[in-house]
């Protein structure tokens, strides 16, 4: 694979992209010009405003096609690479048993006012996701699923009571950055309540970027399409690392 690539329309290097947006400008040639300007600022040049229509008296919607000059440098792409092996459920169980000689305790739920449990259930419930069984299926995991709309204080209390090794929170609603605010609040509460002895903190949801773990104050972030096996494998890896660190 080449290091430098550009978008591909129908010819290598043509740079073609499609974009659409609304501007708060009445429909007309001036609006098209404004769309063209925006597209140019986005690096699309030449930009073709191929469609525009009025939305009410004050807005115009546009579709623009054109070629961007930007070059993607693949060496500069930062992604959270999975730094641990994907284990099968039985490998997870054997390793955990050896490491801990007790079940690993996982407490999960949706925090804040978020009631989207399907995602966390996909990770935790036996039923699982994408053909993989959820964490409840793993013999060496004890799973406590608190469900929806759990308040942060309640979560901390339950995590403490259950002696949780890991806390998994889901955040699906992202309007006004609710997911970011809630997760930060959660991380701060655990830090305050338990300091270094806090459990592993894991956040997940379709609009999280795994690169955000640091700024959110959690150990790991999982995004859209996560499978239970990835999470179980990570848990093993994290426990292992912790043990090694402690030893």
């Amino acid at each position: 694979m080449k290091r430098h690539v550009r978008p591909y329309g129908d010819t290598t290097g043509d740079g073609m992209v499609q974009t659409s947006f609304t501007l708060p400008v009445p429909f007309g040639p001036k609006a098209d010009g404004a769309a063209q300007q925006l597209a140019n600022k986005m690096g699309i040049d030449p930009a073709m405003v191929v469609h525009s229509h009025a939305i009410g008296a004050d807005f115009t919607f546009f579709v623009v096609y054109g070629s961007v000059g930007h070059i993607v440098d693949l060496d500069e792409v930062r992604v959270v690479e999975r730094e641990y092996p994907l284990l099968s459920p039985s490998e997870v169980n054997t390793t955990l048993k050896k490491l801990l000689r007790r079940k690993l305790v996982v407490v999960g739920g949706c925090i804040g006012t978020d009631a989207h449990t399907v995602g966390i259930d996909a990770i935790l419930n036996i039923k699982g996701f994408a053909g993989e069984k959820g964490l409840e299926y793993y013999r060496e995991l004890k799973v406590v699923n608190l469900g929806a709309q759990v308040s942060v204080p309640e979560l901390v209390r339950r995590a403490r009571a259950e002696k949780a090794d890991a806390v998994l929170v889901s955040q699906v609603v992202t309007q006004r950055d609710a997911h970011v605010l809630n997760t930060r609040e959660m991380a701060a509460a655990f830090r305050e309540a338990m300091g270094d002895r806090r459990p592993l903190l894991i956040a997940g949801g379709p609009r999280f970027d795994p690169l955000m773990a640091g700024e959110l104050g959690v150990d790991r972030v999982f995004g859209r399409g996560t499978t239970p096996g990835e999470v179980a494998s990570y848990l093993v890896h994290a426990v292992q690392t912790k043990k090694e660190g402690a030893a």
Partner: protein
């Protein structure tokens, strides 16, 4: 014209079983009241406003009064007797003054007896009657406006959501949506509201993924829609949510502000907000009585089951729930033409013949409830970030609505999996609906499911499964069925859930003029 050739005997059995399954729950609902029902009653009696001096933020006066009454003399006789008795005792002119005095610790609530009781009851009845008259006037006003401006030219009515979190932005979006063709505007609520045990006050601007339901927000939006209704030459309806812990109060506010439809399901709160089942059934009954009086179309929430359960496997649970919702609604006084029973286009599009299966389900609902204004909900669960594909799927959803004669079409958004709708999403979605209605509006005439074909067989199968499940529910009890995860795979035991402590068994001398007036219809 009936296309499925359903056996009327099977249909009658289904209805009979639903009634039987609902019976014990109706009995429970009649035997209890809740803090929310009592607050709703006082709201009908005229209390408004909030205690803005309270350190926990604005607390509505009605909560102060009901909470204090409960503390001091319990709610088992209802709130109006102690409240109106105290009003007279302390010589206060209005309920708001009573509330202020209550907050100041100056009022001592007791259950009046004998003549005091009669007097309190009378005063309360008079006050509540005034409230109900406002509701009646609003209903008449709606009828007048509809007569003058007209209903939408076509079925299904086009139902659009706004969800900015800010009532002022909502107004911009709603008016533009109406101009672009929306017949019904629903203002989605902020994520947290359903678990609040009070109704916030005033105009609000900071909801998360929705705008708070408040009396003032209702008023602002209704006024904005009245304005645009004149402009577009048809009456644009307004919808909100009578659900969550304040279901009955919000139903009252809707009646007072001339809302036209309300999301109001008999089990949604239990299943999807983990609200206590008894609380929900009690609140639900009262709120539906209010809706019946106000001429408000209720929208039930069967679509939600298909977001947590599989739309093919769980198809019959939708039918069962529709039959239960129908029964509860009838029992509370709602006629068929106010029953916006819900269902949805949520089959995984990868399932072979998924579109035909959708048609089977949609047609089954249509033929089971021929006089109900069915609400047809768009794909959500299988929408992805591929907005092109999503736009297509929404087009086929629209077509299914047209082919099966749905009454209210909730317009799907291509950004369903991404964000709450952009202005342009709504506009594009309406263009999609318009294309389908214009281009294929009459295609229903040419749609004749092959007798014994996939569609007919599937509809019969779902109805059969629904009857079986209803029989099991009759045997086990509806509350146990809910506890077992029958609906939407959510398991909700009867004694669990939020708001259970707001439920109160009625005493023998329980008095509630609102219930009496609404029940008397």
């Amino acid at each position: 014209m009936a296309l499925l050739d359903l056996d009327p005997k099977v249909v009658a059995t289904a209805r009979r079983l639903a009634a039987k399954a609902a019976e014990p729950v109706v009995a429970i609902a009649k035997a209890h009241t809740t803090v929310a029902v009592e607050r709703a009653t006082l709201r009908l009696a005229g209390i408004t406003g909030a205690d803005s001096t309270h350190r926990a933020g604005d607390v509505p006066w009605v909560n102060r009064v009901v909470d204090t009454v409960r503390e001091q003399c319990g709610l088992e006789h209802g709130v109006v007797l102690p409240a109106f008795h105290a009003l007279r005792e302390h010589d206060l002119a209005t309920l708001t003054e009573l509330a202020e005095a209550t907050a100041a610790g100056q009022v001592r609530f007791t259950i009046p007896e004998g003549r005091d009781r009669t007097r309190a009851r009378k005063a309360a009845t008079a006050a509540v009657t005034r409230g109900i008259r406002t509701v009646d006037r609003n209903r008449a006003q709606r009828e007048k406006l509809v007569a003058k401006l007209g209903d939408p030219a076509q079925r299904p009515w086009i139902y659009l959501i706004v969800a900015t979190g800010d009532i002022d932005e909502d107004v911009v979006q709603a008016q533009n949506a109406a101009r672009a063709g929306a017949d019904v505007i629903a203002v989605i609520r902020s994520t947290g509201q359903s678990l609040l045990d009070y109704v916030p006050e005033g105009a609000t601007h900071h909801g998360f993924a929705g705008t708070y339901a408040t009396q003032e927000n209702f008023r602002i939006m209704r006024a904005a829609l009245d304005e645009v209704s004149k402009e577009v030459g048809r009456y644009v309806r307004l919808t909100n949510y009578a659900s969550g812990l304040c279901m009955p109060e919000i139903a009252v506010l809707a009646g007072l502000q001339r809302l036209d439809m309300m999301l109001n399901d008999s089990m949604y709160g239990i299943l999807f907000r983990d609200i206590n089942p008894i609380r929900t059934f009690v609140d639900q009954r009262f709120s539906r009585q209010v809706h019946a009086r106000a001429g408000i179309i209720i929208n039930t929430g069967e679509d939600n089951y298909l977001t947590t359960a599989d739309a093919v496997e769980a198809a019959h649970t939708v039918t069962v729930s529709q039959l239960l919702n129908e029964h509860f609604a009838h029992e509370a006084g709602l006629p068929d033409h106010l029953l916006g029973l819900g269902h949805a286009f949520e089959i995984n599009p990868k399932v072979p013949e998924s579109f035909r299966l959708e048609l089977a389900h949609a047609l089954l609902a249509r033929e089971l409830f021929p006089d109900a204004p069915l609400k047809w909900m768009p794909p959500t669960k299988h929408m992805t970030g591929d907005v092109f594909n999503g736009y297509l799927l929404d087009g086929f959803f629209n077509l299914a609505g047209v082919l099966t004669g749905q009454s209210i079409l909730l317009v799907g958004m291509m950004t369903e999996a991404v964000v709450t709708p952009f202005l342009s999403d709504r506009d594009l979605a309406l263009a999609n609906v318009r294309y389908v209605l214009d281009a294929a509006g009459g295609l229903r005439d040419d749609f004749r499911p092959a007798p014994d074909g996939l569609i007919v067989k599937r509809a019969h199968q779902v109805l059969g499964e629904a009857v079986d499940l209803l029989a099991r529910i009759v045997d086990d009890g509806l509350l146990d069925a809910i506890a077992d995860g029958t609906f939407g795979l959510m398991k909700r035991p009867a004694d669990g859930g939020k708001g259970a402590d707001g439920v109160v068994a009625k005493a023998d001398g329980y008095c509630n003029p609102a219930s009496d007036l609404l029940e008397a219809r």
